[in-house]
C-alpha cells in the first residue's frame, strides 16, 4: 500500500509535468544550439500553444471546432499590423487606420494584443455560434473559418490579400515561445479546474443532467470559446514572429487538419493529450521531413517523394481513430502519484 500523495500534488502535477517536458526540449535546444534545430523546437512550442488552445474549447465542451485556425489567422495578422515598421506598412498595407500605421509595438506586447484581438472576435461571433450544438456547431465554426479566410485573402489594402505580408520582426530565441506554451498550459489547466470548466465538462458528458442542475451550457461554452480563441490567437502571433511572414492560406484547411490531428492523436479530452499529440506528431513530421530532404545511406541518398509526410500523418490519424478513438492518453491526464507517472480519468478526476 503506497501513501496517496496530497490532493495538491495531484491537481497541480499535470501542468507541472507537462511544462517540465517542454523545459526538456528548451534545454535540448540550448544544448544543441543550432539554428535549424531551434526553429524545430520553436515550431513545436507554437503548435503546443495552438493545440492547447484548441483543447480548451474542444476538450471541455466536446464540440469539434473546425474554425479555431481562423483565430490563429487573426492573431498572426494583428501582430503583423502592430510590429511591421511603419515605413513598410504604409507601402504594403495602406488601408490600415492611421493610428496602427504609425505604431510599432515590441514583440511581447503585440502578441498578447493579437490574442486579445482574437478573443474579442470570439466574444462577438461566439455569442451567436454558441447557441448551436453538435454537427450544426461544427459546421458553423467551419463557415466562420471560411469567412475569415475569404476576407483576409481579398482585403488588399489591409491584409495584402493572398500575397505574403513581410517585415514582421523575426524572433529566433526559444524561451519566449517556451513561456507562451507554458502559459497556455497553465491557463488551460486553471480553466479546466475552474467552476466553468467543470460545469462545461459535466455538460459534455451529461448534457441533460447538467442543464437540469442549472448549468448554462451556452454561457460556459462562450467562456471556453473566448479563452481558447485568446490562446490560439496568441499562437498565431507567435507563428508570425517565428517565420516573419504571413499569408492567409497558411491558416486554413491544412493547419486545421494538422492541429486537429495532434489533438485527436493525443486524446481530445485531456490537456496531457493535447501536449502529447503535438510532441508525437511533431517528431513524426520532423523525421519524415528529414527523409524528404534525403537521407544518406552509406553513399546513396534516399529521398521520399514530397507529400508522403502528409499522407503518413493522414494514415496515422485514421489508424488511431480506429484503434484508439480516445487517443494515446486514452483521454486521461498524467498526474504525479508515485514513480512512474500514473494516469487518472479526465472525466472523473483532474
Amino acid at each position: 500500500m503506497t501513501k496517496r500523495p496530497s490532493i495538491f500534488l495531484r491537481t497541480v502535477s499535470t501542468p507541472l509535468i507537462l511544462i517540465l517536458v517542454l523545459a526538456c526540449f528548451l534545454a535540448l535546444a540550448a544544448l544543441v544550439n543550432s539554428g535549424p534545430f531551434n526553429q524545430v523546437v520553436i515550431d513545436a512550442f507554437v503548435k503546443v500553444t495552438l493545440v492547447v488552445g484548441l483543447y480548451v474549447f474542444i476538450g471541455n465542451s466536446g464540440v469539434i471546432s473546425f474554425g479555431h485556425i481562423g483565430f490563429t489567422c487573426l492573431g498572426a495578422y494583428a501582430t503583423a499590423w502592430l510590429t511591421i515598421p511603419p515605413m513598410m506598412k504604409k507601402m504594403a498595407l495602406p488601408g490600415l487606420p492611421d493610428l496602427i500605421l504609425e505604431t510599432k509595438l515590441p514583440f511581447g506586447i503585440a502578441i498578447v494584443l493579437g490574442g486579445i484581438f482574437a478573443a474579442i472576435f470570439a466574444l462577438i461571433v461566439g455569442k451567436i455560434l454558441m447557441r448551436l450544438s453538435g454537427i450544426a456547431a461544427s459546421i458553423a465554426t467551419f463557415a466562420m473559418l471560411a469567412v475569415i479566410n475569404t476576407v483576409y485573402s481579398n482585403w488588399e489594402r489591409v491584409t495584402g490579400a493572398t500575397s505574403s505580408v513581410v517585415g514582421i520582426p523575426i524572433v529566433r530565441v526559444v524561451w519566449p515561445y517556451f513561456l507562451a506554451a507554458a502559459g497556455a498550459i497553465l491557463i488551460a489547466h486553471l480553466y479546466a479546474i475552474s467552476r466553468s470548466g467543470l460545469a462545461l465538462r459535466a455538460a459534455r458528458d451529461e448534457a441533460i443532467a447538467a442543464s437540469a442542475s442549472g448549468v448554462d451550457i451556452g454561457r460556459e461554452r462562450l467562456i471556453a470559446f473566448i479563452i481558447s480563441a485568446f490562446i490560439t490567437g496568441l499562437a498565431g502571433a507567435l507563428s508570425a514572429h517565428s517565420v516573419g511572414v504571413v499569408t492567409p492560406d497558411t491558416f486554413y484547411l491544412n493547419l486545421t487538419f494538422i492541429c486537429l490531428s495532434m489533438l485527436v492523436v493525443g486524446g481530445m479530452n485531456s490537456l496531457s493529450g493535447a501536449v502529447m499529440g503535438v510532441v508525437v506528431l511533431s517528431v513524426i513530421i520532423q523525421v519524415l521531413r528529414q527523409f524528404e530532404k534525403g537521407v544518406d545511406f552509406g553513399g546513396t541518398v534516399l529521398a521520399i517523394p514530397n507529400g508522403l509526410q502528409e499522407i503518413t500523418i493522414g494514415i496515422v490519424m485514421v489508424v488511431i481513430l480506429i484503434a484508439r478513438p480516445s487517443g494515446l492518453t486514452r483521454n486521461t491526464e498524467i498526474v504525479w502519484r508515485r514513480w512512474p507517472f500514473k494516469r487518472v480519468s479526465a472525466t472523473a478526476g483532474s
Partner: protein
Amino acid sequence: MTALLQILFDALSLGSLYALGAIGIALIFGVMRLVNFAHGDYISFCVFALLWPSIDAAAIVFAGQLPAYLLIPIILATGACLSMLSEVLVFRRFRNANPATMMIASFALGFVIKYTLLMLFSSRPKSIDLWSELALPVEILDARIPLLQVITIIITVLILAALVAFLKRTRFGLEMRAAAENFTMARMLGVRANAVILLAFAISGMLAASIGLILVTQTGTVDIQMGSSVMLVAFIATVIGGLGSLPGAVVAGFLIGGISVLMQVILPLEVRPFRDAFVYGAVIVVLIWRPNGLFAPRSAKQRV
C-alpha cells in the same frame, strides 16, 4: 433581356455544380450520418485520372485521349471505385462512432487523397484540353450562351431525373430512402446495411466524377485544389438544405449558385471580392435560424 438570360444561365450552370456536389454529400450523410470532407478530393482525383502520373509541368494526357463514350464511363467508374474503397477501408470501421469522429476521419482521408495526388502530379496546376470546342457560344434568344453551360444544365437535369427515378422506382432506392430515415429499423426489416451504404458511396462517387468532368471542361486546367472549392460550397448547400435531405440539397445548391451570380452582378465593385464570405456567412445565419436547415427531413430530430 439578353443580359438577364446570360445571368440566368450563369446561375443555373453554377448552381448545377453545387447541386451535384451537395447531393453527393447529402446521400452519404443520409445513410450513415457522415459529413464526408473527402468528397472534394474525390472530384480532384477523378480529374487527375485523365492524366498519366508525372510531376512535370506539362500534363501527360492518358485517359483524357479516349473518345467520350469510353472516357466518361471510365471516369465515373473511377469515382465510384474510389468512393466505395474509402467506405470499405475507412468508414466501415466507424459505423458506431459519433459523427464528429467520422468527420475527422473523412478529413484525414481527404488529406491522404490530396497529398497522394500531390506526390504523383506535383502541386502545380496543369492545363489540359478536354472538349474545348464546347466553350463555343450558341445563340439562344439573341443571347450568346456558351454551349458548355447549356450542356452542364441539361446533364445535371438528366442526372437528377435518373436519381429520382432510381430512388422512387427501384427496390434499392426504396431501401436507401428508408435507411436514410431510420437505419436500424430498415435493417430489422431485412435491408442489407452494407449493400445500401456501398451503393450510396458508389453514386456519390459518380456524382463527384461528373463534377470533375464538367469542371475540367470549363476551366481547361487540373489542380489538386479544384475539388475543395466546389466541395466547400456544396457542403454548405447540404447544410442549408437540411443535412440528409436530397431535395433540400438540390434546391440549396441552385439557390447558392443563384445568389453567388446575383451578388457578382449587384455588389459594389469594392465588396465583390468578398462575395464568398457572404455565402459562408449565410450558412451561419441559416443555422442560427434553423439548426436543422431549411428543408430538414422529418426524421432529423428523432435520430440520436
